[in-house]
Symmetry: C2
Subunit: 348 residues, 2 copies
């Protein structure tokens, strides 16, 4: 019998919508994961997914969680269903990958983290963006001194989803997608920037419902202060062209990173991204080369390796809960007109 | 005798430091202005300026203001000296161009505006940036519908001045340069964006003193809400590379404008700027052509024409006072941790 640690990590997909394919394709691109089963309530969608990925299909969630071949589940259901699914998976001893945000409410995030700890399973949360090649390169440019002392960070993640929402989509509703593009898009930047610059201490924010027909806000503008000193602007509009950018301003110079959002889902985003550096004493922006990373494959391999070796994935419960806490601090700041301290769990 | 309205507008420079040359050169590039005199207390600097610009020099401010040939004065002294100089000039019946900000304090701004009104002279304030070609083009792209409904605006004006300050410079001191790069650099964006999007209603901001040795802050990050709905981020760091950018996100697409700060002083900034447009349904950023404007010449010609015709210049007392009110709202917001309503004079 082969060493089980060198065999692919056997996973099952739960919630088989558009994003299940993005994540499923990421798993398929890796020799270290194998999709062995899937489940969603709709039998036709289930059969189609099983056919596409050459895996079994479970007739019920109970059956899937009772399948001893399944080591981990990949959850791409709506935000507000994460907690119950993850808790059941953890109780069944299955490792869990879930889409971001970890949940809509902080209370659910705590329940998720506690259940995974109790079940002895490894939780990874799909803040894939921190895996991107230019993000890693920016970290390296901080560590090798190229950027010097960082004062200001700018990050924007926008698209026109808010103008296309209809009431048959869960993102239309405030209770299912609180903060709109803030919890769906900008939460990526919150995690990526906390990965680069450490914990965000407090947030000032303004959210607006401007042009969407949906219940949710379609604009959020945040000022995030890091404990270490720098301050970040994070902006997200749900009623404009597709944009994904991060700029980092340091005393050594400034880095400008921009991805082509039309390639966001395919795993080859880095092939359509640019990273430039402008030294402090220069006005020329020179291209910077970076290693191209398949962000979905990378985060799933990190999860599989973590599950097999018993370590925590790079973005696990605490990191994802912290990103969610920043989202809620922003919502509270916008409602109260006050700068809000981010509640970290151990300080709560 | 020639028609006096077609003869050049006769001006004198007051405060003959580095910026007097930038403005003096702008006047020299226009056939509609003529520098006829100058004054600063230092006799050597005065003689050098008079020699460079082929103008007379006044032995005292009194003498300059008594010179009946002088129609207007161009003031480039430190912020906190503007009010007394402008009030004296207005009392002498001289039209006034002053550098931005109009003053450090709102009270001084009111005194300035009242004195100019009482003296029947036209006041122009050097928020030159709203004259720039790409700014005018963005306005056109709003008016012709290209940008659609604007939700989000981003503006950054940064350089490394904070790292180079020494105590012999007035910008070192908090009482002479409150807000540091906010009142020196970002105030341009405040005016330009109010010119494009109308009055800013309220401000959330965080200011920091991070890396400068000076007394002043070297970082400011603002969220500015416009009465009309859109929200802007304005950022300024005084400890990084030179950056000047404005991005406008609308439902029709997004405009990205970037100037090369090394060409900020020469009047040919527009020759080194780029403006791009990304349509909402596209991910390609196409170059947009714009008319190149010499911003210093343009603002001075606007002032001269206003003085001759008895109209207000494009950026006069009310506009500049409003920009200063946003600066002080930001300082207050940072100190109190609260969103601050901008005090407009007529609502005070």
């Amino acid at each position: 019998m082969a060493n089980p640690d060198s065999a692919p990590f056997r996973v099952a997909s739960i919630g088989l919508g558009r994003w299940a394919k993005v994540i499923g394709d990421g798993a398929t691109r890796s020799p270290r994961l194998q999709i062995v089963s899937c489940f969603t309530r709709d039998a036709d969608k289930r059969a189609a997914f099983a056919g596409s990925y050459g895996c079994r299909q479970a007739e019920s969630l109970e059956a899937l969680l009772a399948d001893s071949e399944v080591e981990g589940v990949m959850i791409t259901t709506p935000n507000d269903t994460h907690a119950d699914l993850i808790i059941r998976a953890a109780e069944a001893g299955k490792h869990v990958y879930t889409e971001k945000p970890i949940s809509n409410s902080i209370e659910d995030a705590y329940r998720i983290v506690d259940a995974c700890q109790k079940g002895g399973v490894r939780l990874a949360v799909g803040h894939s963006a921190r895996q991107l090649g230019p993000v890693r390169k920016i970290r390296q440019m901080m560590e090798d001194g190229t950027l010097g002392d960082v004062s200001l960070v700018e990050a924007n993640f926008s698209n026109d989803r808010g103008l296309e929402l209809t009431p048959d989509r869960w993102r239309w509703f405030k209770d299912k997608s609180p903060g709109g593009p803030l919890i769906q898009l900008a939460v990526h930047h919150v995690d990526t920037l906390q990965g680069l610059f450490g914990p965000i201490q407090n947030v000032s924010a303004q959210l607006r419902r401007l042009y969407t027909s949906a219940e949710v806000d379609d604009l959020a503008v945040l000022i995030c202060s890091f404990e270490r000193g720098p301050v970040a602007y994070i902006g997200t509009s749900w009623s404009t062209a597709g944009v994904y950018s991060i700029n980092v301003y340091g005393s050594g110079g400034a880095a400008f990173y921009q991805a082509d959002f039309s390639h966001w889902s395919a795993g080859d985003t880095d092939s359509y991204s640019s990273l430039q550096f402008q030294a402090r004493d220069s006005f020329e922006r020179r291209p910077v080369t970076f290693e191209q990373v398949d962000m979905y494959r990378a985060e799933l391999e990190d999860w599989a390796d973590a599950a097999r070796s018993g370590r925590d994935p790079e973005v696990s419960g605490p990191e994802a809960t912290s990103a969610l806490a920043v989202v809620w601090a922003a919502i509270q700041s916008s409602e109260t007109g006050q700068t809000v301290t981010v509640q970290q769990r151990d300080s709560a």
